[in-house]
Every structure is written in C-alpha cells, then in structure tokens.
Symmetry: C2
Subunit: 222 residues, 2 copies
C-alpha cells in the first residue's frame, strides 16, 4: 500500500465521523434509535425522498453504524452499534456546551421563560418507583407502540392542550421524547409551564434509557 497504516486508520475513523456529518443521516439515526424500520417508513418520518434515504442509509451501513436485512419486499434497517447512541449524545453535548447558536435555539424553544434543569434518568427511575410523578412520552403513537418507559402516557404535542384539564397541577410532570435531537419534550415542558404545571424534561430520550439497561415496555401488538 502507498499510505502508512496510521493514515489508513485515520481515514477510516474520519469515515465514521463523516457518516455523522449530515443532518439527514442524524435524523435517520435518531429514528433508528427508537426502533428498526424499513426504508419507506424512515423516508416518510424524515421527509426525505425514498431514493435519498436509501443512499444515506447505505452510507451509514458502510460506516458500520447500521445493518440491514430483507423482510419480504422490504429492507429493514437497524442500529448495528450501541455506541452510536453515545456518539449522538456526545455530539449534542459538545454542541450545546460550546456553540452559541445551539443555546439560542434551545432557549427559543422554552418561549422566554428559562427551562428547569432536566431530571436524570436515575432520579426519574426512583421517582417512578415511588409513584410520585406523571411521565409523558411526547412521540408519535407508532414510536410509543414500539417501546416506551413503563408507566409513561403517550401524548403528542398537538393533543397536549386537551390533556391539560386532566393533569394534577400539584404532581410533577416529566416529559421525554426521542433523545437529544428531539425537541418535542422541550416544547411540551414549555407549554405545561405556561399553564402553571410543574414540568421538566428527562435527560436524553428513550434510546438513552434503554442504553442504561432499564426496562422498556413493548405492548402486545394486536
């Protein structure tokens, strides 16, 4: 070979980073961190064309972050490496800690009022065991159905207003969604607090909870 082993290694490592270096692929990874899925479904969720999604997914596969298998006519993709969740989380942490743009956007989501610190997953687990908390899963129904934190109630942002009258204003409400790239929980918390509820986000999302080794409820499909 004409290049040194060191250069060859660095090229490979950079190749993995390259796979993470496009918004479209981060979105796909976020979806795949919820549950495995076929190309068409991923394309619909992410707003990409099918051909484009397919190409991005192949790039993720070449980087070793994702695998695929055939199921009839469909090809099902899923995360290949659990570390992908860690990588995605670190990316967002670095960005939030060091890029002013990011803190601006996140502040904007809270609608003026400062958002409270998110609760750690460990602390949430304790509170859940004590029954001292309302847990809301702010994701689309199908993702909730594919797995959620036991005891969570599924509600989309659009339907949140309708739920308000039935929530106890004295009990703390915790919201979570897909993970560090998902803004639903931020928005839900902002709205809940506008209405006087005690609401906070959970740190991370379902993939991080699962990665902790905590229980995930998968309801029987009918």
């Amino acid at each position: 070979m004409s290049t040194s082993p060191k250069q060859a290694l660095l090229r490979e490592y950079a190749f993995v980073a390259q796979a993470l270096a496009a918004p479209a692929r981060l979105m796909l990874l976020e979806q795949l961190a919820q549950t495995e899925a076929a190309v068409e479904g991923l394309a619909r969720k992410t707003g990409l064309t099918v051909a484009n999604a397919s190409q991005h997914l192949q790039q993720l596969r070449r980087a070793g972050l994702v695998t695929s298998r055939r199921a009839g006519k469909a090809v099902i993709y899923r995360l290949q490496d659990r570390r992908a969740v860690g990588l995605m989380g670190l990316l967002s942490e670095v960005a939030e800690a060091n890029l002013a743009q990011v803190t601006d956007i996140l502040d904007g989501l809270s609608g003026g009022a400062p958002a409270p610190e998110p609760i750690t997953r460990a602390a949430l687990a304790e509170r859940l065991a004590a029954g001292a908390v309302i847990l809301l899963d702010i994701r689309p129904e199908d993702e909730f159905a594919a797995g959620h934190i036991p005891g969570a109630r599924n509600i989309t942002l659009a339907d949140l207003e309708r739920l308000l009258p039935r929530l106890d204003p004295e009990t703390e409400i915790i919201a979570y969604c897909r993970g560090p790239y998902c803004i639903y929980a931020h928005q839900a918390v902002a709205r809940l607090r506008q209405h006087g509820f005690k609401a906070r986000r959970m740190q991370g999302g379902l993939p991080e909870w699962r990665e902790d080794g905590r229980a995930v409820r998968i309801p029987p499909s009918l």
Copy 2:
C-alpha cells in the same frame, strides 16, 4: 428564520461531526489531546503545511472542540471540551468493531502473531502501585516531557532495540502512547513479543488516563 428549529439544531450537530470528519483534523486533535501547542509545532508534528493546519484548527474552533489564545507572536491552541477525547475514542471503537479494514490494519501492526488484549487503565494503576510492571511511554520526548504516567519510562520506537538488553524478561511490560489513533504502542508490543518479552498495550493513551482523573507527572522544565 426559514428553517425549523429542529433542522437548525441538526445542522449544528452535523457541523461538530463534520469537524471530526477529516484525517488531518483527527491528527491535530490527537496532538492537542497530549498538550496545548502553537500552530507551527502542530503543523510539523502532523506533516501539514502551516496555512493548512491553521485552517483546520480554525474549523475545529468553530465547532467548539478547541480554543486558542495569543502568546506573543504565537497562537496557542488547546482542547476546549474534554468530551472531545470521548468522541475520538468512540469513533475508533465503532470503527474497530465494525469495519473490516480497520481490524486488518491493526492485525498487520502486530506482525503476524496475535496481540494480547490490552490492559485496562484501572488494572494498570493497581499493578503500578504494586510495582509489578514495567511501563513504557512510546512517544516523542517532548510529549513525554509535557506530561506522562508516573513511573513510566520514555523510549521511542527507534531506540527500543537498544533498551531490550536492560529489560527483565520475567516482568510484564506495558506500553502506551497518544491514544486510540496512535500505533506506536502496538508496534512496540509487537517487537517486544518478538524478542520473547511479556508485553501488552494499555487501553487508550495518556489523554484517556488523564480523563480518568489519574495522576499525570509533569517534570519541572529546566
């Protein structure tokens, strides 16, 4: 703004990943993980032209991974975010676990014979406390002088042969270098084992040791 907050966030996260997506920048980060340094020194170590290194460093700075300050005529760059070390490590782990090319290259470094599993840093710390191990730092002298594991002996690959007669063949030898992208320790272990010594690598390198919160010796400069 014409784009949704979600898209804007993803663009920023992808921007951080983009910063990691070039071999040249990974090399610069590896160097900066050893110790802060000026542009010219970094350019020399990495083999980049000064202008090129400067541009890459600015890109790392825009991504929040690195900061700089002026010191006289020179501009000193250093890691801004400790999580950068974690990101670099995860990248290499994912690559090693999932890319056949990478395992091929690493196997090649061991020169035929299979390399033993590296020792964890925790285990090494115990062994060091017990004095039951020889620790070799396989980095250039200046990097050793900027900080190293207490008790380590500095030896470059080129000088390793000369050291062999003075090493005890019964005591286990542990080698480390810059971190997951550095191949010196791999090569040193391969040579030592060819000569019949009991040698293994330490997992990670000095930056990871430091990140663990373990003691780093910085000898007084003369």
